[in-house]
């Protein structure tokens, strides 16, 4: 496949790895933001291939990790209504809420359907005029334009039996929040390349300036990731900070202006609660009043919608806190009443600290014991791209191999 296969070339990858190796003289902690990038890292074993001094922290970049449990609960409730056809991307169907997940709702008789594109929902709506199609509009800025288009089209075409349950999150405020914690350990970022195709990367420049970190806009194929790491390490080694674009084949500084205009038209920015993290100000989208008619939460009100203002982040307070502690500041308190966070997740869970790079999964008391992929306690183990799940699976291999004395020559492996 053109523009895909070339970026998986092992010879080019090998060259980049050597370059990274030559550049790296010290330890660095780098975070990749997007779940898709975490997926590539795990799939291609990039974390194994990078020099050991480079420590990776998997960012809060996947729908599982960030969708507030309240939204899942609302989705499950709506999906269980007999006059609703609930449409969703596949990723969301197994995310656990407090009353189960969407697949359980389906088992219970709900009409839950997977769609590839939000625009498909409009067809479902016109084919089923007696029922309401509710679409679970989740994602980062990458997915927001498609979701916005569905709403905009519905309004234009007068499709009234269509509504969206919005759960959109924005990347730069999350990075701001992460970086504002004086105890964070992340020294460089690989920014989410596809988010930047829409939004551009001018939003990251003030962040890079304020916190003096390198931020490299990075793609998703192995060569893209390696180039991202190479540029980030180069900047770190040379003491430079700022934003660089390593995904120039699709990212322009201004992004996609028409898509941004569409977002402006349909959505407005709001405070938002991230699962396992807490409320981050101005980090989510909601529908503008002109599109309120398509808001599923208004069409299907359930228990009172939690006012985000009731669980304010203590970010403002913590930044004045000069007492440097090794414990996480309350803003990133893993979970508990104080942050107003999810009852569904356990108080043993330290996913907040994992996401900041303060702790690694093996340092968690629950890791592998009470918390496993089959019985996850928190967001970072629930998702296969979460740091804890990734460590769990990789670690099992190391432990299992160490237990055997056999050498392992296998034809076709290039290294290790």
């Amino acid at each position: 496949m053109k523009f895909l296969d070339e970026y998986r070339d092992p010879i080019a990858a090998d060259k980049l790895l050597r370059l990274i190796d030559q550049k790296t003289t010290r330890s660095w902690t780098i975070m990749e933001i997007c779940g898709g990038q975490s997926h590539t890292i795990i799939k291609y074993g990039i974390d194994e291939l990078l020099p050991p001094q480079i420590s990776l922290v998997h960012g809060p970049g996947c729908p599982v990790c960030v969708t507030p449990v309240e939204q899942i609960d609302k989705a499950v409730r709506m999906a269980s209504q007999p006059d609703v056809i609930f449409c969703s991307f596949g990723d969301m169907l197994r995310v656990p809420g407090r009353q189960g997940d969407l697949l359980s709702a389906k088992a219970g008789g709900g009409d839950v359907r997977i769609v590839y594109s939000p625009l498909d929902c409009l067809r479902v709506a016109t084919e089923n005029p007696q029922r309401t199609v509710v679409f679970f509009a989740v994602g980062f800025e990458t997915t927001a334009p498609a979701n916005a288009m569905a709403v905009w089209q519905a309004k234009r075409r007068g499709i009234t039996n269509f509504a969206v349950l919005v759960s959109h999150v924005l990347v730069p405020p999350a990075m701001q929040a992460l970086l504002s914690n004086p105890n964070h350990r992340i020294q460089g970022f690989l920014a989410a390349g596809h988010v930047c195709t829409v939004m551009g990367y001018d939003e990251y420049e003030p962040l890079a300036e304020q916190f003096r970190v390198p931020i490299v806009v990075t793609g998703f194929e192995p060569l893209d990731m390696l180039e991202g790491f190479y540029r980030c390490v180069s900047m770190l080694e040379e003491g430079r900070y700022g934003v660089e674009n390593a995904y120039t084949r699709v990212v322009r500084r201004e992004g996609n202006p028409q898509a941004r205009a569409l977002l402006e038209e349909v959505f407005e920015v709001t405070d938002y609660k991230w699962r396992g993290i807490g409320v981050i100000p101005q980090s989510g989208y909601r529908l503008r009043p002109e599109y309120a008619g398509f808001d599923a939460e208004l069409r299907f009100p359930g228990e009172a919608v939690e006012k985000l203002g009731q669980a304010p982040c203590s970010y403002a307070k913590s930044s004045q806190n000069t007492d440097v502690r090794s414990e996480p500041v309350p803003f990133f308190h893993s979970l508990g009443a104080e942050s107003g966070a999810d009852d569904a997740d356990s108080t043993l869970c330290i996913s907040g600290q994992i996401l900041q790079g303060l702790k690694k999964p093996p340092e968690c008391a629950a890791f592998r014991t009470s918390c496993t992929p089959e019985r996850p306690l928190g967001a970072t183990m629930v998702s296969s791209e979460g740091a804890c799940a990734a460590y769990y699976h990789f670690g099992r291999l190391q432990a299992a191999s160490a237990a055997n004395d056999f050498p392992a020559p296998v034809e076709g492996t290039h290294r290790g």
């Binding site: 596949g90 990723d91 697949l103 498909d120 998702s383 191999s401 056999f406």
Partner: protein
């Protein structure tokens, strides 16, 4: 209504009160359902071996023992007519193949039909005609059958269960418990064709492609392989759950590790493209006309040649090894190097956006 189930994002809970679609995926949930519900309650040692078919020795007095292979399978595919085949063909091939990979020569089939009220008779006729052709092609006779009808809404157009019997040669010792470290793993051709062909016509994710299901009878191919490699350890057909499920069963059955080489796994361009677009991993996508074979390493090249000489095995390849490390686990070596675990699918794979 079309339906698939979650991949590994995220992993489901262990305790279930109801049957979910994931229990039918061929992944971990299916394995758990079998181990926790069916095996303990049915308590049969042959059943407990979980081979694709049961090999039974009948010893009529005075005559030499006969080894009978018996297997059964149900077919619930939607849509019932798909690119490259239909549910009828699948019902014949699926059962015939389960016998064939056990080394048996399939002889007879029984079929049970559950028809939903309202199914057009023309569709039924097409499906049954299809089965007749498939039987002829596979060299089996469909000798007994049953039909039931259920109310509209209580069955998805048509469900077919086929049961097959065959004879296993006395010297044939194929088993999922037979793999040994040092053995090599072969696949008879491109994987994932069937699963992606089905997806291409599934509502919500449909797309245009020339790709067709690879559904085919494997009797002849399996027999050629056996003739060339009498010491073959085991054969499986990677249907639901794909290569991953079949290899996990093998790793588990033989208590060995399996190490695959990603670049060696044959894939059609269309399957690759569809998997990229939908975010699927071809390791978990079903094939219906392919087999996996585990052979002693000294026989690997001969086995490969035998497969490639056959029309159904032209794209055969050696895709990995049986190893002593990490028993019960399947790993894969990605093209850039290193090794990672192939996680056991929990439910079935779902398209993803992340």
């Amino acid at each position: 209504m079309a339906d698939l189930e979650s991949r590994n994002c995220p992993i489901p809970r262990v305790q279930y009160e109801h049957v979910l679609m994931g229990h039918g995926s061929g992944g971990k949930m299916t394995a758990d359902l079998i181990r926790q519900t069916f095996l303990p309650l049915l308590a049969d040692e042959t059943l407990a071996r979980l081979e694709d078919q049961a090999t039974l020795t009948l010893s009529p007095s005075g005559d030499s023992p006969v080894r009978l292979a018996l297997t059964t399978d149900s077919f619930v595919v939607q849509p019932i007519f798909f690119p490259g085949g239909d549910i009828g063909q699948l019902a014949v091939h699926g059962t015939v193949n389960d016998l064939a990979v056990g080394g048996a020569r399939p002889l007879y089939l029984a079929a049970a039909f559950i028809l939903e009220e309202g199914l057009p008779l023309a569709d039924l006729q097409k499906i049954v005609a299809s089965m007749r052709l498939a039987c002829e092609e596979a060299g089996v006779r469909l000798v007994t059958a049953d039909t039931k009808v259920v109310d509209r809404g209580k069955g998805d157009k048509i469900f077919i269960t086929t049961t097959g019997v065959g004879i296993v040669p006395s010297n044939c010792r194929l088993s999922i418990q037979a793999a040994r470290p040092g053995d090599r793993i072969l696949v008879s051709g491109t994987v994932g064709d069937h699963g992606i062909a089905i997806m291409s016509v599934r509502e919500g994710i449909e797309f245009e492609t020339i790709l067709e299901s690879d559904t085919a009878p494997l009797v002849d191919l399996a027999q050629s392989l056996l003739a060339a490699c009498p010491d073959i350890r085991c054969m499986r057909d990677p249907t639901r759950g794909g290569l991953s499920s079949a290899l996990h069963e093998l790793a588990d059955g033989s208590r060995v590790g399996i190490r695959l080489v990603e670049a060696a796994i044959p894939l059609r361009d269309e399957v690759r493209a569809a998997c990229e677009m939908l975010g699927l991993d071809p390791l978990y996508v079903a094939s219906e006309g392919k087999l996996i074979a585990v052979v002693p390493s000294e026989d690997a090249e001969r086995a490969l040649a035998a497969l490639r000489a056959h029309p159904l095995g032209r794209n055969a390849a050696i895709i990995g090894d049986v190893v002593a490390e990490h028993p019960g686990m399947v790993t894969i070596c990605p093209p850039l190097g290193g090794e990672r675990i192939v996680t056991m699918l929990a439910g079935e794979q779902l398209p993803r956006i992340c």
